[in-house]
Symmetry: C2
Amino acid sequence: MPTNVVRILPLGGVGEIGKNCMVIETDEDAILVDAGLKFPEEEMLGVDLVIPDVSYLQQKLHLLRGIFITHGHEDHIGALPYILPELDVPVYATRLAHGLISVKLREHRLLDEVTLRPMAPGDVVQAGSFTVEPFAVTHSIPDCVGLAIGTPIGTIVHSGDFKFDATPVYGPPIDREALAALGRRGVLCLLSDCVRVDKAGYTPSERIVGEAFDAIVGKRRGRVIIATFASNISRIQQAIDVAQRHGRKVAVVGRSMASNSGVAAELGFLQTNGTVIAVDKVRKLPPEEVLLLTTGSQGEPSSALSRIASNDHRQIRLVPGDTVIVSATPIPGNEETVGHTIDNLLRLGAEVIYEPLATVHVSGHASREELKLLIELLQPRYCVPIHGEYRHMVLYRQVAGEAGVPPENVPLIEVGDVLELGEDYARLAEHIPVSSVLVDGVTVGVTSDVVLRDRQHLSRDGIVIAVVTLDRMTGELLAGPEVITRGLPHPPYSEDVIEAAREQVREVLRRGPAAEVEHGFLAQKIRETLGEFVYAQLRSHPMILPVITEV
Amino acid sequence: MPTNVVRILPLGGVGEIGKNCMVIETDEDAILVDAGLKFPEEEMLGVDLVIPDVSYLQQKLHLLRGIFITHGHEDHIGALPYILPELDVPVYATRLAHGLISVKLREHRLLDEVTLRPMAPGDVVQAGSFTVEPFAVTHSIPDCVGLAIGTPIGTIVHSGDFKFDATPVYGPPIDREALAALGRRGVLCLLSDCVRVDKAGYTPSERIVGEAFDAIVGKRRGRVIIATFASNISRIQQAIDVAQRHGRKVAVVGRSMASNSGVAAELGFLQTNGTVIAVDKVRKLPPEEVLLLTTGSQGEPSSALSRIASNDHRQIRLVPGDTVIVSATPIPGNEETVGHTIDNLLRLGAEVIYEPLATVHVSGHASREELKLLIELLQPRYCVPIHGEYRHMVLYRQVAGEAGVPPENVPLIEVGDVLELGEDYARLAEHIPVSSVLVDGVTVGVTSDVVLRDRQHLSRDGIVIAVVTLDRMTGELLAGPEVITRGLPHPPYSEDVIEAAREQVREVLRRGPAAEVEHGFLAQKIRETLGEFVYAQLRSHPMILPVITEV
């Protein structure tokens, strides 16, 4: 690799939403921007989390100068507890992100082993030959930054997650003048959030959600329950402000939200002014003085809101007169469970307010005009869309074109693609095999495709197990065949089918003397014969597992 | 049951979208309106279809006068092949629905065994003491009707699926004057479509999709591929019209769309004017003369569009310059797969146009103002929302209130609820246990909760099978224990774990002489011990299946 070259390699977060993780490197230094997780897709059965595969960095540990975190959302920090044991480097983060990361590391008993370094807008962090300058951006959590990264060949700007919120709930709006100044100094490449590029115009301010809360809470006499993401500190702040304005106390229900808001309050990012009290205290108040904040806006089965909706929560029981505000939009794939949660809340007699009935949620990401505005302020030579699905990236290229960046200067890269940037060129240099790491219970990263395929097979068609016990010397059938099934379509004649299946196995054994044939061959014959038999009976292709033992 | 009472009992289609099926009965006569299917929810692993449970009608076969079909969509006719063998009664349907039902029955080799009776707007069908008068409504397929059902206690109007389309693609707009006349004669109860009640205003005309097609196709020089539902005959008509206007020939790719459009053309509901040709002929034409129509707008894995997107279609291979129009919105739960299909089409270099980028889809259902309009025209005493999720029904009650129907006159019923209607009252009379029937391969209706729970367990955590072979007399271990796993998280030390697991089983056998204990007890001990062991190793709770054989 020539020395006047910078390589950009996404390990996550391009061509897919979430799991943000980006390597920026020269031949002498490397940094990582963000280390997020994402939740598994529908077909990843039994998988709990998906995190980036950082094995590429293991050969480069001596070059890695640090991990830079843009903000404290799960899809930017959630992988840290899993990858930090492998990558022993300092983590740079703003104060709030810092606090939220600490909570996570403490849960994983890693807090003492990790070097956390503070970083704030205006700082200049030297990371080998890179200088990293965080600048404040607005999003749906306070204390977010983008990064201006000085490299040997020019400045690379990483936008982080952002929108141009003129009236943010915490802190000042984005300093456009400072961005324009950065642009005048020269930006080689902008890595830009693109996930909301399919929305025209500007994303509304986070404030409008507070106004909607105010209008709703002001008119209600019963309890109000607001469900949102545990990490949405700005939303939580607005709920607290509204409660206070209308003489209500707030209790936080749900462990993750309680610990996040605790950290945010401790660090001064959440002003509670004595409004937040314990759940058991709030239960003694009259309904018109109660506002509950809870997780579960995505219909997650184990969340507080799902339990409340199923009348299965230890502390909260819904009654008619209660109002539930679902302050989120479903992440693609969650629409069905969110819908069921709302239906169940309604069945319990609560009033439920959700989009599109009222503006109780707003995105934290820039719409099309804001994406163009960022380009116009920074005047980058190259633009690379990040934090979006492939279709968002394609559309971003078109939008960047409207802002004056020609399509050939908007390279689209996916996970594992290495973008090589020179002073006057950008090219796809190579593709490194990078997979996703699936976290399954306590087991990190070893749930293979084979396992997922097996689980899909089992989940679709069930399993048939055939056990035969043979005489080691003669091959004679000593016991069985036992045929056991799980998860098969259940016809009323199932006892007969099982007996007929056993006869099929006996027939296989009769055809050739088992002692003379290899067990592998015999197993294969049983698998084939039983497979055909079950398909003829049930039009189903279960997994067939012959077990042959010898005595 | 008193004689001046009508009972309304949904077997599907209220409190859930799809699977529409409604019993309307007196103590002397019963009719069924629609017999639809729905596609399984995410947690119904391995299930292909969900159909209504009509077992309630089996004791009433002598009272059942007919099945009345409002239109030819899957969620209204799809269950017929499964329930008609049990319910041998005439099926009344309009001509197009008739044709589409015939295709289905022919596939199931049932066509000769079923009595199909034609029905058209203006007809009066006598069904015992009921008179059924279909009236034309507009929706996203031609030849749709609502039903005015004369009963001993008054008129019940079933809206079917409808919107007030002033410029439908086929046939006239809804005759508002006739509905108003019906209203003046007196309507006791309106059963109303409510699925789009969360949208304010009016749903746009189906025509606007044709205009969008026209604008897109007119500007393209490459092939255009339009993906939509196989049964969306109006959409198919508009695609054909646009193709013709721009000098393109149309080929239909996908078996279900080809057979549906064939039937529609044969019956005069689709005007092809020589524009539609075979797929192998269209391949010889230059790209600017080609328009392909295909299924797969929901990202269904085996559909033509998914295959094209995976570069796996026998006849169609995408090239840059091709344009794909996804003319549908994802049904809740399908967002993720639809998104992946679009991403893959883009990766192959095609241009892809989908909502919200252009108005290439419009709903066939009434928005809020249209729902109110129907109430205002018919002036029903009672309104019952149907064809919606529970949240839509709750909202419909509020909207009906705005149209002057008090909330106590808008009873919400769910599947199995029996609404008893008298001349001057409506009350929830009882709840009949009605489940959904799951169709799983060739097996109808016997996939039980146990099977689904097993599949969920297997899909999440996999299975561990432990086989031990014992001496029948002494209880001594003769062979094994064999421990086999499938679908478990796969740690690198898995061989050791298996050996340790075998040792656990041996230990169970050593503790008590097996001959003296019941096999059930032994199996339980093995299950417990292995369960604890696997959890300690992997933090996973697989299904544990001990198999004990004796020799």
